[in-house]
Symmetry: C2
Subunit: 223 residues, 2 copies
DNA sequence: ACCTGAACACCGTTCAAGT
DNA sequence: ACCTGAACACCGTTCAAGT
């Protein structure tokens, strides 16, 4: 009765932060984010739930971690498509980049919703957000209009987090800090404010209006 | 010791589904959706958690319920703005409608995220989704590109749900059923498919490109 | 008809203890 | 250094029982 569990075939791979996050992504992909529990995560890894806490501080860190994993995957994928900054070709490249980002998100459908709940963002997530924003984020398959990056975290904490990233993304962080300084109430300035929202809205409305006047330009009217 | 709790001042308003949902919205507004628990909800209402189950089937029904409450609020607000269907003025009206919907969502910041998790939608939520979609949903402060309405629910269940709404929204439901029939794989056809996504994307890219060629038209370049 | 107490299975997490 | 068992506070929910 006591020797029944002695049949250990595989030599037991040790846990690690990377293994924990990889397993978490797989669970979310296969069963949805709601079924990602610490106990299930441990089970998949062949360990006990309490063992996870040696590699991650808590579940929140797991969630931050898998958000970072997906953001890296997107950044990697997107950066393989060259982006000519001059000339009219920017559109073709931007289009290809956005559609490739979309493909990654379709493999991790829980990611957009998760991003919105994050209270602290990794450099990769920050870079991703900024890229989306720079390209006109509304096109992107999920939005940040109602998302406040400092959501729940204090302004001081957010600013401190930015400072700690400054060496990795100096230009981006510099810009964000500047905006935050100019307008402390603007949710750090890089996402939603009314002006930003209306700017994107007007682009879309103007585009639709043009199709109303020139239906021949509407791609939907071609076979 | 036994009479200490006898000081009942208010005569105890009976629970009701409407009261439960109203209290739930207030909790979510004030403390966030994550702090909406059945126990806290009951506490706010001066009852025990178990009493809630007489008025709602379970927590999922509470979540469906408050999604419906917000969708109704948006539909009511929006429908007070007349929408001329002919002529170039459509843009002004559409703009006003979208911005008024946005104001409601800013009062219930948890709602966009909640909508995306709903597995069954009320007529009000359905109407809201459709309105957003018809206006070019990407402008709207949250998106459905990665949202699948039949998310988790079977196709049969979704179709049955639609049929039960047919008397309330005959034209809309008719259209959706038709699309679902034409293309059963298209997530019921009213949200994301690749064509839809690319259509919205191209409108935005074309709009940005036009501003690149004619910077004088960019509202951001005026005082 | 409406409400509740006790109980159950399940969370995330702590902490002292094992190797 | 790495892992775990027992325990705690908190969930949603059931069910038999109260008025």
């Amino acid at each position: 009765m006591a020797t029944q569990r002695a049949a250990r075939t595989e030599p037991r791979i040790p846990l690690s932060r990377a293994r924990v996050l990889q397993a978490a992504v797989t669970i979310a992909d296969e069963s949805g984010l709601e079924s990602l529990t610490m106990r299930r995560l441990a089970e998949v890894l062949g360990a006990e739930a309490m063992s996870l806490y040696y590699h991650v501080a808590n579940k929140e860190e797991v969630l931050d971690g898998i958000a970072d994993v997906v953001a890296r995957e997107i950044n990697d994928t997107v950066s393989q498509i060259d982006l000519p900054t001059k000339g009219a070709d920017w559109k073709k490249a931007a289009r290809a980049r956005i559609l490739s980002a979309r493909e990654v998100l379709l493999r991790h459908r829980w990611a957009p919703g998760l991003f919105e709940t994050r209270t602290s963002v990794s450099p990769a997530v920050l870079q991703y957000f900024h890229a989306m924003h720079a390209l006109g984020s509304r096109a992107l398959g999920f939005n940040q209009e109602l998302f406040t990056p400092s959501n729940g975290a204090s302004d001081e904490a957010s600013t401190a987090a930015l400072e700690s990233m400054a060496d990795q993304l100096p230009h981006l962080v510099g810009m964000l800090m500047e905006v935050a300084h100019d307008d402390p109430d603007s949710t750090l300035g890089w996402c939603d404010d009314q002006t930003e929202f209306e700017f994107g809205l007007d682009i879309i409305l103007d585009g639709l209006d043009r199709l109303r006047e020139r239906p021949d330009l509407d791609p939907r009217n071609r076979a």
